[in-house]
Symmetry: C2
DNA sequence: GTCTATATAAAGATAGAC
DNA sequence: GTCTATCTTTATATAGAC
């Protein structure tokens, strides 16, 4: 199976545009023609790069997850404190939403899970799994340092923090507000402070 | 403009099926033909009851919001304690998700906000607004009784709790897990306990 | 690698008979 | 109130020329 790092410059542009369209309109909300218009080539040309929509989206998610994983490593490198790391994590979601109210790619795809091919669903699942693993690790660090109080356990708190951030984007859209997931994340994290 | 309480028995069945389809597949993920097959009539017959898809969905959301509002009143009638009310609130979302992993109707529609007609978007917005108002009121009650500690303010905590519940459904789907929003809600609420 | 042309299916919606 | 037939548009995808 193809890997996102193995694609041409044109294919990368297609992936860029596809990602933005999914974050704005969802899997069922965009078409090859939408991409074609944005990129400036004709619809059938896209099939030369990605035979099916499912294959295109699989690469989109694969790259998104990879990039996100790299951002988590950056956070670890820049911040030693668990609380600071969690706030930086929330900022990742805030930056996404601030950009035309885009949703987390895997958030919207998670909601549309049953419309996805098995391959895409697997990539989405992987995204959530490594995010939760990182959050658990970070929270346990904070608890060990005595900075965080994890009622119910690190796993439960990690799940809830991830849910707050994903949910804040979706509620923000429903309200038609620019209110950032950062605020909801900060509220959540402040509740954990010992 | 028509009101949901003013529709025929057949129209009600259409609304029932449409609601379930949206909660499972989203606004862009179902068609008049999907409803027709489920209800056992032909596609054009639906247009007799609802001229457009937007009008059908507007009624779906209107009824959903009304029903949800009544459930909030039931919670107030059954529980005096703010903590118990919040837990019962989380249970509402859990019950929805337990039913074939259905999402909150307004959660998924919020995510698809830009695909909605202005009328539908307004109904969705109203749903979130009265939910937040109820949560703020309930949280302030708990704070006044000394049971809850609302760091950052009731408004912020209300927003975050709503986000947790909406987000937990979407993350659960992405993970392919049955794990309930109730767990995330309980985690959140336990963090508020004084 | 991109194009035009085309196949095929599904979408929302309308017309008019029963 | 429901049906058949049809319109129009859009979707994913393929064939084959350049």
């Amino acid at each position: 199976m193809r890997h996102f790092s193995d694609i041409s410059a044109t294919a990368q542009r297609l992936v860029d545009v596809a990602q933005a369209l999914i974050q704005q309109h969802g899997y069922n909300g965009f078409s090859y023609d939408d991409i074609a218009r944005e990129v400036g080539i004709k619809k059938p040309s896209i099939h030369h790069h990605f035979a099916t929509k499912a294959e295109l989206v699989r690469i989109v998610v694969q790259r998104y997850a990879h990039t996100f994983g790299a951002l988590l490593e950056q956070i670890d490198a820049r911040h030693q404190d668990a609380g600071a790391r969690l706030l930086a994590y929330a900022e990742l979601f805030a930056q996404t939403y601030q950009n035309e109210r885009r949703l987390c790619l895997c958030g919207i795809l998670g909601a549309e899970a049953d419309a996805l091919s098995a391959d895409v669903a697997l990539e989405v699942r992987g995204f959530f799994q490594f995010n939760l693993a990182w959050l658990v690790k970070t929270m346990e660090l904070g608890a060990a340092a005595g900075a965080l109080r994890l009622r119910g356990g690190a796993k439960e708190q990690a799940y809830a923090l991830l849910a707050v951030l994903e949910g804040a984007m979706l509620v923000g859209r429903g309200l038609g507000s620019d209110g950032s997931p950062a605020a909801a994340g900060q509220t959540y994290i402040s509740n954990l402070l010992a």
